[in-house]
Subunit: 166 residues, 2 copies
DNA sequence: CTAACACCGACTGTCTGAGTCGGGATTCAG
DNA sequence: CTGAATCCCGACTCAGACAGTCGGTGTTAG
């Protein structure tokens, strides 16, 4: 399980744009240098972001990119989808394509994938660029959830004999 | 973002074992045929599961595999870790390796990855084989969470101009 | 002794992710 | 009007991982 560098870099760029959100566009070259990202590469990423309507570009001298909407209205799920496509790519995840699962009748795993998908897109969809840029890495996610998550984590750690971290 | 087939098949095998949880071991050949999985392949997967202490094997004629612990005590996160390694593989996710992030100071994205990781391992760690096998795809996850997740999903769908499903 | 099973290392093919390259189109400054 | 700074785009490369396969060995029950 991993997020592609496309998504990662893309988000970094968006965050940079959210930060520099003056009225003048920001050049990719600047972001690339500041964040140590390969310029030619993020160029193509940001193309996807533009086509998805998340950023707007102004060309020519002293041109650059701007967020297309205020950072509070751009969620990470938008970014990831624009860059990586489906959030969870599986033969039979996703809330819609329940039928594409070719396993005979009782595909019990199916529901797990769905929940996984929901979990992911819920978390990503619930986080806006503004929050990330502000450093408050996320929305007011009730601490109870966090606690439960951590507890489950710890429990399963204990259960497994010698589970490696991560 | 995707789960490897290793993890998927591995979970399927585990579920099969949980189902057939009599006292006699179950042969891989049977599972492979019943579930239409490549025999030679899951053989190596199940090796990993054994080495991780999730299943035990008995060799020889009419041998096979058994769950090493009751299905209620095996969570999906155990399985995925045994099969795929780290739950979320990133330069700078994971609750522990915060330092491996080489970005200068303000790696704001960092926290996002951590939350993503928590979200994933929380969901996986909170689901046991028994629940999956029983078809109740998960623990008594409070419906409130599910609702919030779906709402966020819908919201972000609406926000993006024409976001594709999944 | 043989068939059914687990076990193992090595091997292969395909695909995708991560980036590069070279050029074109646009705009602004001097 | 020339040149520099941008965005824009398609084509290309290259390495590594993933998904399997293969051939053979060890072990046990009937």
């Amino acid at each position: 399980m991993k997020l592609s560098t496309r998504a990662e870099y893309g988000i970094r760029v968006l965050v940079a744009l959210a930060h520099a959100d003056g009225d003048r566009p920001t050049s990719l070259a600047g972001i690339a240098k500041a964040d140590k990202l390969p310029h030619a590469y993020i160029e193509q990423l940001v193309g996807a972001l533009r086509r998805a309507g998340l950023v707007t570009a102004t060309r020519g001298h002293s041109g650059g990119y701007r967020l297309a909407r205020p950072a509070e209205q751009i969620s990470l799920v938008d970014a990831v989808r624009a860059l990586d496509g489906p959030i969870l790519e599986m033969p039979c995840a996703g809330p819609d394509d329940l039928e594409s699962c070719d396993r005979p009748q009782d595909c019990s795993v199916h529901e797990v994938f769905e929940r996984l998908h929901d979990s992911l897109s819920g978390m990503l969809g619930g986080t806006t660029l503004a929050e990330v840029a502000a450093g408050t890495g996320g929305p007011p996610y009730p601490p109870a959830v966090r606690r439960r998550v951590v507890a489950a984590h710890a429990k399963s750690q204990a259960a497994s004999s010698a589970a490696p971290p991560n």
